[in-house]
Symmetry: D3
Subunit: 327 residues, 6 copies
């Protein structure tokens, strides 16, 4: 993949040869009975439809050519009905082991991961409460597997922040807003809020599978991320001698209640100000990300298409900002 | 009322004579058939039960002694089953006109009104967009009746910020959080958000009656505060030549959608980021106020009584804040 | 379009040449990679699928051939699998300006508009209350733009009365039933009911776009028709000196509450008999229209297909009417 | 009861002796430990609280003095806290058999029963369809027990038309509106509508108990009135040789679906225009009756108290009717 | 059909000639404009797609070749993209009368019908209560049409036990569990439970049409199976002189309430232990059947596809059973 | 307490002296201003109202006389309005330490605890799967604190099985039904079901407080019993080397999903047959217990009072069981 161009940069007529991820792969039959292969191919820059009209041009066996496989393809970009597609001459399956950097085939956060990890460490360093800092350090600094997963996972399977690094980006964004909220509402316990925000979705690293496409793991489907993170908190707390039971309850409560309502999968309602705040800021940040993404989409009219995550269309006409001296 | 002590300052055995507001007034009959008068009496500091066991001690007619009437009472504080009450010797109806400062009999915001109005004016001065500033100035500075009402009204009949000045206090608190949110999410239009926050509940000045007790006006019951404020915005916009239609739509949309869901009385869902933000911060601020109030209530255990506004009990045990140098 | 036959009158083998509205237009690719054009073409009489198998037969540019465009087409009706379609030889884009009478390409009310306007005027003339008559006259007789729009708009984007003139037809039908209900329930205020019925959906003229296909305007999506008509009523009332505030509240209340439930977009529930009546008769008339339309559809079995507006199938078997002397 | 005055006609100080129905009866204890009897006593004109302060004044045994018993009482009307009550000197149980006309102790319809029965017979005579007429005649004319019950039962246990004769009054009112609706919507089958209206609540004669107070029978609680009337229709249809199966289905469908929604106890949704109409007119008539009753209640402000049947307060201020020549 | 192989037994390349049921039949057009016939063909063993690429190979008229028709087809099994299909050379319509055993073309219960009927008779013989036994015997033994239908009908149109004999299999399975429950909870009336289980879905024999495909009859759509079976119970009870009214109410109550909630179509909630039990065991048995079927489906991963009946995916990984001596 | 009689055995006029639990305690004032003490006093046999009319008869301080305190009382049973009460001459606070056997003051299961524990051990011995047996043995045999609590706790704070030992009784009853269900549905994994049933409510021992009255602990309110038991399962599994992860997921899934719906507090839906079964049998057993209790209540009519747990009245008329030879 070193030399291959991002597919979003292709123009009509450009030749292309390189490895792409098949997000979808279907053998179809034409009306006359001839078979062809229809693909949805992606790298980190985006995706394109691809068509191979003669199956004899497949090199090697047909069977492994499936969704979630890497494929080496050769062909050219052609425009059809105003949309670019790849008309292919050759297709060949590529084992995962032969692909240098798998993550480069997925959508990723616009923020660089090292920058985000540095911000995370700053937040951890700012925690004054010794018990909370110890718990968070154990999980987010010392558990290297978790730290790596936390920096890689998307925030959701669909809905919002659906890209690698999305979980960390979403968490840091809530953390930023939460810090401002603690400045505004002095009754809040800042360190407790920090713990709640950092832990509220950490179980998604085990709930979601994101090595290929984005889906749920067995544990994710059977337990849900809230139960998974409760389990991890209990396990880490168990390793810290003398960890106060009251603090364990307060933290677990924020995590368990952060979906805000039973029908959204929280077994309890938020009953402390910190739990209430984390619920609202989490919900707000996810929904705003969806809206901002819709605003940035190209080639659009005043209204976004119907958005399933928000169950509405989004109004994209923006009232221009007035720049002023006094601000 | 100049010399009379706040009733919250009374101790067992203290005599009391002065004017109080009767929030409740009921003539009851005892098992033996004798009648007595049971009152709930309040000034701005709080309320107490009052009992007059011999109706012949009422001076003047009985009829006007009703809920929402001012009464001159004389008696003494006595303790009964751990709670203070007023055992009365004399009760007399007082016409409203004889009461110097009616507002002093109601619960009021802890923040002084002049301070809040100054903060409001600062916010108005900070609006850069000329159209938005003109609209807000017309309503909140130039319309003196509205300005006065806006500084006096409670934020709700029950639920949250139920005291004189509560509407302004609630609005300013959201405005503070909203300013922080605009720092955090730069895509937001700050002036549009300011307009939405200031206008979102302004119709409550006409929806609620708060001269005596807190209730709804006819217009409040028949139209609701959202329709009332939409009417006012349209009326003021109509007086500003050239006011942009697009801006009118954007502002009205925030106001109409700020309850967030149709079943909560918003005829449309929030479809812009600014509308979404105003909805969330409004909801959050109201609910946090309820929680903080519950935390401050005296003589309580770890759990508040069932809270109807939040449909849950609130956990009052606080995890202590760690004070630290590095923050 | 003067000489072109209504497409519903075509029979297999009939040639056709004329202007039709493209409700849908898609360039598709066949299994072998050749491109073709698939259209849904309509005039006021109905719609047909159309196919152009060779894109070289398009005269002029391809780009403007889109949904909602007028097209001149030439070809012949052919029967395929029991359904008529148009097999096309020529297709050409036609600018709107070249189309004589745009409205003739849409489904229209079965009742002639002049007849309906005459009935409207009769109803207005029958209003005894001078304030109500003045308000209604200002809107429905003197505001010629509104009168024209009111006579043209459909009653909804989908659901019921989805054709030009549908709003007026629906309004008059409710008005007829409402007059009968006022005869039956003498406690009702007849003029107030008339005002409520006439105004309850008038904002749909601005909520819906119906120049091409039927959709929502920006104002429709952002405010909803209820808020739009409340705005108009307030504006007109403001022009009538001395208009009684009590009457303004009563009328606005009917309009605001006519969806009957908060989750259907009414910010308040009907709290007067007149408001309750308007809600029920509006709902009933819309749903009956859906049922009667389903009964009239041809080529059908005992059951209509699943009807999305009513969330059920409709039973089309009719029990025959007994004609009798004594009636 | 011949000579005893209606209790609604009593004034302060009036003596009273006669038989009343005890809607409630409770032996209570005073703070000092003495026992007294508190009653809610009613005749057809209304109800009053009654107090007997000395139980030794009860003639005969105490046990039968219970809710739903008839009592002979003697005492005087006294005013307490603005409300009239009966202060009693004597109380004695009266067996049902000793009460001449039990029905005179309950609230009754304002319309005389014979007048209503005559209207019912007119409606029956107007049915042109021979099968429908035969079915309705069998039930409402020939089955004398049912006819009598139909003329006596209330329309509901609470909610609306809660008085003797209320079921017939409610049914006739719907029938009147339905006749007007059939004039307005000519597609409707008038006789089918008549059948549906007459039968839709007839099972309430067996669902409700209304000999004493208003409650549910065992069959009412276990089956509901809809299933009861379906049973009766099937039984009567079975006695009419050749009754068309299609008509049986159409009638049963109206009856089964007339609550309009599954969660209101209809096992199927209305799927014919006639079923839809009956559902709407039934619902409308019941709710209007509640509103009109609230408007007529005396001594009230602009707003009714919270009304449980409608889940709202009702606005009682009426906009005056304009009387006009041209109507 | 005597010699034709079950289509599930076909392998790639196998020739096939015989009669199959067309569950779906569509004439389609290829991109080039040629027409072909696409079928979904089934016998009791399963179904396969079938394609006839040249319509001239249809013998006889095209019109009757529709969904739900029997067709004689000739062709060969071919594998396409890993799935078997039938590539056809000849297709001919076959009138129903020419098909020997129509039922053999539908999915059927895995349990032989005679075995199930024997179990049914055993259950009937075990009923000790004479009234209940008489009622059940009249319906399930003496009414031969009903007995036959009861042994043939599916349990539902979709959802669960969707195959011929499914109703009886489902009923017997609940009966087995119910017998065990009566052993466990001795307060239950065993014979009443038996009656409730046997009758709870018997109306499905008239609600569903299952001669061809599975759908609803007119009576099914207009009345629902619950009302149908209530009707039948009343009819049979009417034929048994002296049948106790109390027992009729108890049995009807179980049947009417067995969907457990009003929104699921039961007009009353279960109010006796027997009614509650029948509701739970019915619901449980249907849902378990769905799960067990999902577990048995071949070629599957750890998770079933989304299951509409249960609104979830089903986890198919099984924890192996430990076989042990002591059990 | 050795010699004092159960209060349920008292008859009018019986003297009583002994220790009782005050479930409620209120100092009230009479109309004349004298104070008295009203108590609700209980032992395991039931509860009675108690009145002390002269507060000077209290021995020792007044303050500790509160709800949930033990009191020594002396007085006599007197009948008032058909109900027994205790008229007291002496009342004295008793410290908990002075009460021999606290549990004897609460309602208890009708089944003796040793018998229930023996049945529990039998069930444990019958588990064939070595991993499951080891897990269950660790929790229910080796953890003596848990075993004791499991044998003592009620099953709920209200709703069903609200008495000491109720949790174990409820669990064993489900276990019995579950064993029968595993006989009936052979696809079920019996040992997995056993684990699920035993663990599904075990966290209630920490969720509920039942030392005095029945309420929720802090952990119960903040986490809920489902999260508590998930925590315990994870902790015990962590102590068993090599415990299979798949089995851990399967067991946790049953526990987490056993409320069956998200809005009832389960964060995931049941997705395995075992999870589905445990949910249904748990729900059924709790509701049947409520019904059977209502049937057994004395002095009742055909209908129970409105039952909040089931949101309905329960029909208490029983159809008599037929005893027969052939069963």
């Amino acid at each position: 993949m070193p030399d291959q161009p991002p597919i979003r940069s292709l123009k009509e007529g450009d030749p292309f040869a390189g490895i792409l991820l098949a997000q979808e792969a279907a053998f179809k039959t034409s009306a006359k009975g001839s078979e062809y292969l229809e693909l949805k191919l992606s790298d980190a820059s985006g995706d394109l439809k691809g068509f191979l009209w003669d199956l004899r041009a497949v090199e090697g066996p047909l069977e492994p050519i499936q969704a979630d496989a890497f494929l080496w393809v050769k062909g050219a970009a052609s425009s059809y009905n105003g949309r670019l597609q790849l008309r292919l001459d050759k297709v060949r399956f590529v084992p995962d082991g032969d692909v240098a950097d798998v993550a480069r085939f997925f959508p990723v956060s616009a923020r660089p991961v090292p920058e985000m990890l540095a911000e995370l460490d700053d937040r951890l360093a700012g925690v004054a409460d010794p018990w909370i800092r110890r718990l968070l350090t154990a999980l987010f600094r010392e558990d290297e597997d978790l730290r790596r997963a936390f920096a890689t996972a998307p925030a959701a399977k669909s809905m919002h922040h659906v890209y690698l690094g999305g979980l960390l980006e979403h968490t840091l964004s809530i953390l930023g807003m939460a810090a401002r909220a603690c400045d505004h509402y002095p009754e809040l316990n800042r360190d407790l809020v920090t713990a709640g925000v950092l832990l509220h979705d950490v179980g998604k690293t085990a709930e979601l599978s994101y090595q290929r496409g984005f889906g749920y793991t067995d544990a994710g489907n059977l337990l849900g991320h809230i139960s998974i993170e409760a389990e991890w908190i209990n396990r880490e707390v168990g390793k810290i001698p003398g960890f106060p039971e009251e603090l364990r309850l307060q933290i677990l409560h924020i995590v368990l209640s952060h979906h805000g309502r039973l029908e959204f999968g929280s077994p309890v309602l938020p009953k402390t100000p910190e739990a209430l705040l984390v619920h609202y800021l989490d919900d707000l940040d996810g929904k705003l990300e969806v809206m901002f993404r819709a605003l940035r989409e190209e080639g659009a009219g005043a209204w976004s298409p119907y958005n399933r995550a928000l169950d509405r269309m989004i109004y994209r006409t923006r009232w221009p900002r007035a720049e002023s001296v006094q601000k």
